[in-house]
């Protein structure tokens, strides 16, 4: 059919050319008539060219489709901008006319730190803190895989300090307009930082203490999660996951003092899973620039391997407000571990017993002081108070450990952003209790 139309058009062109080539007739070949015929010829030529172009496009599309069938994963060269503002036909959702983009995307973030204690420069360290590669693959317009592979401290071997971790590995399926299901290893929606932990997303070289010591960022569990997003600005996240393992508490180590839940998280590495946990988070963004939310996570942590059952519960409330150049945020989080007395009794005298409660809060203010093009400078100040052993269950007079002192830290510094994907940072941290830890930090990070 297409070739038939092409032949007809070509015949018209030939006929017109023949007409033009015919001997001039004094009555019919006036200048006006000649111009009309030229216009007709031009239109027919344009028609033929359009038909030819359309056929070439169809042939190219068929070739591309065949190539895509044999190699469906086209890695995006750069996620910065799309090549054309016009929706690309070869990557449209079926029937929707809307671009999907590449089906497989490579992502990365990482950060390099330099920490220099101001009272003891011999403890200064430089570290490639983390390097993360992410791979996302969209199976169809409703289903995708999200993964992140992380290397901490540059080198991982039996004689090096590094670790290799899978930070995320989950399938996400859009169930309906407002509901999404996730299954696999995903980040728990707690606080402000855990799900948004890239270096370009937070102020200061190091992540804040409350969201590392109390909320053990980057905290992930394996399980199922349902996300609901509503037009009134409310986002809800509910799920059933693996939880903590109290039986791995090492009373001879200081790790539990630094982060009680960081010491007993499982990260889906042969995780004990007799006791499952549940979580819920609600965030409201109904006013532009304002976020108010909270979360709770609770679950058994002994998995039938201790004489008594213990439950770990962690909750938080948080807010962030970004009017104009300001970026203001505050968070409070509290965790509890039940029935710790029986667990601690045989450990009396050890370096660290299991706390019954731990908590912390911070307030932070940042201001975009200067910007030019894609460069911007934002000084910030953050005040934190946290206690990783706010209380212990009573073991009797003389045996119950004293609560830990509440640490207070002020951090003053600035983020210097180069576009949305690169940040350089500098700050100074002063500790009220562990004043030996006062330090100056430099850092750089990227995310795309």
């Amino acid at each position: 059919m297409k070739f038939h139309r092409l032949r007809v058009a070509a015949a018209c062109v030939a006929a017109s050319a023949a007409l033009l080539a015919a001997p001039a007739n004094a009555q019919s070949a006036s200048e006006i008539e000649l111009a009309r015929r030229l216009d007709q010829l031009a239109a027919e030529l344009a028609s033929v060219k359009a038909e030819l172009a359309r056929m070439q496009r169809e042939r190219a599309s068929a070739t591309a489709a065949a190539a895509a069938a044999s190699a469906p994963a086209a890695v995006a060269a750069s996620p910065a901008v799309v090549a054309s503002p016009v929706v690309a036909s070869e990557s449209q959702a079926q029937g929707s006319g809307i671009a999907l983009g590449p089906s497989t995307v490579l992502t990365s973030y990482g950060e390099i730190h330099y920490n220099r204690p101001t009272h003891d420069s011999s403890k200064a360290v430089a570290d490639l803190t983390r390097f993360v590669l992410g791979l996302q693959h969209r199976f169809d317009e409703k289903t995708k895989l999200v993964t992140e592979l992380e290397v901490e401290h540059a080198v991982s071997s039996s004689s090096d300090p590094g670790e290799v971790e899978i930070e995320q590995a989950f399938i996400e399926r859009q169930l309906a307009r407002q509901w999404t299901l996730r299954a696999g290893l995903f980040l728990i929606p707690a606080g402000l930082l855990n799900e948004n932990h890239e270096p370009t997303a937070f102020y200061g070289v190091e992540r804040n203490f409350v969201e590392t010591a109390i909320i053990p960022s980057t905290w992930r569990e394996g399980g199922l999660q349902v996300v609901g997003s509503f037009d009134n600005g409310v986002t809800t996240q509910l799920g059933v996951t693996t939880g903590f393992d109290l039986t791995k508490w090492d009373a001879t180590s200081n790790e539990g003092r630094e982060s009680p839940l960081g010491a007993i998280h499982q990260e889906l590495a042969l995780a004990k899973a007799r006791d499952l946990s549940v979580f819920g988070a609600v965030n409201w963004r109904g006013v532009p620039g304002l976020l108010v939310g909270g979360s709770v996570f609770t679950g058994g942590a002994t998995h039938g391997q201790a004489t008594t059952s213990s439950r770990v519960t962690l909750w938080d409330v948080h807010t962030r407000y970004t009017p104009g150049r300001w970026d203001l945020s505050a968070l409070y989080s509290r965790g509890t571990i039940s029935n710790t007395a029986a667990f601690n009794t045989p450990l009396v005298g050890s370096a660290s017993l299991v706390p019954a409660s731990f908590d912390g809060w911070y307030g932070q203010a940042a201001f975009r002081l200067w910007s030019r093009g894609d460069l911007s400078l934002a000084p910030f100040v953050r005040w934190e108070e946290f206690n990783t052993a706010r209380s212990f269950a009573s073991l009797g007079t003389g045996l119950t450990p004293d609560a830990a002192p509440t640490e207070r830290v002020i951090t003053v510094g600035a983020n210097f952003n180069v576009g949305p994907g690169i940040v350089f940072k500098a700050d100074y941290q002063r500790f009220r209790v562990s004043s030996d830890a006062d330090r100056f930090n430099l850092g750089m990070g990227w995310s795309f």
Binding site: P79, A80, V81, V82, S84, P85, V86, V87, A93, S96, G97, I98, A99, G101, T107, G134, Q136, D140, E141, K142, K144, V146, E172, Q174, L175, A176, R177, Q178, W179, L181, R182, L192, E195, N196, V226, G228, S229, D231, G233, L238, G239, V240, L276, V278, G280, N283, R285, G286, V287, P288, G289, L291, G299, G300, T322, P323, G324, R325, G373, P420
Partner: protein
Amino acid sequence: MRLVLAGTTVAALAAAPASAFAVDYLSLEEAQRLMFPDADHFDSREIALDATQLQALDAQGIRGRSARWTVRIARHGDATLGVVVADAVIGKFELISYAVGIDGDGAIRQIEILSYRESHGGEIRLPAWRRQFVGKTQAAPLRVGDDIANISGATLSCTHVTEGVRRIVAVVALARRNGSLP
């Protein structure tokens, strides 16, 4: 306790609308009808920016990105009500498709998100966030952290869509000045 909360999750799933579909929220045709309900037809027009015009955009700090744009002109009879331009930008990792409706005086009439596929940051669909653009013209900064408030957890999506809107407003203004658009 575990069973009760797990049951709640299952109930929430069951309460979801039965028809499953992708994260395409609107087609362009639906979006343009929402933006210009009084229009009785839309004419599609290709506009092409020349090198001088692209340089003019660049001088405004706007990357022209493409010389060719498809603009849909909303008409009621012979009267021109405004234009609609569809575009797509990368949010954090994936494409966000959106459309901008612009009145005859160059003021933004409406922003609609056509599709969103990121795992986080879908809140840019919120009407309250999109309403910030309404009434703004090329004279407005149209920048996140300036006259457009950010959404916590969706910074890149907000930034890139806002950049895209600023570009479209500038392109339409340029096309109107040179007579390519009514």
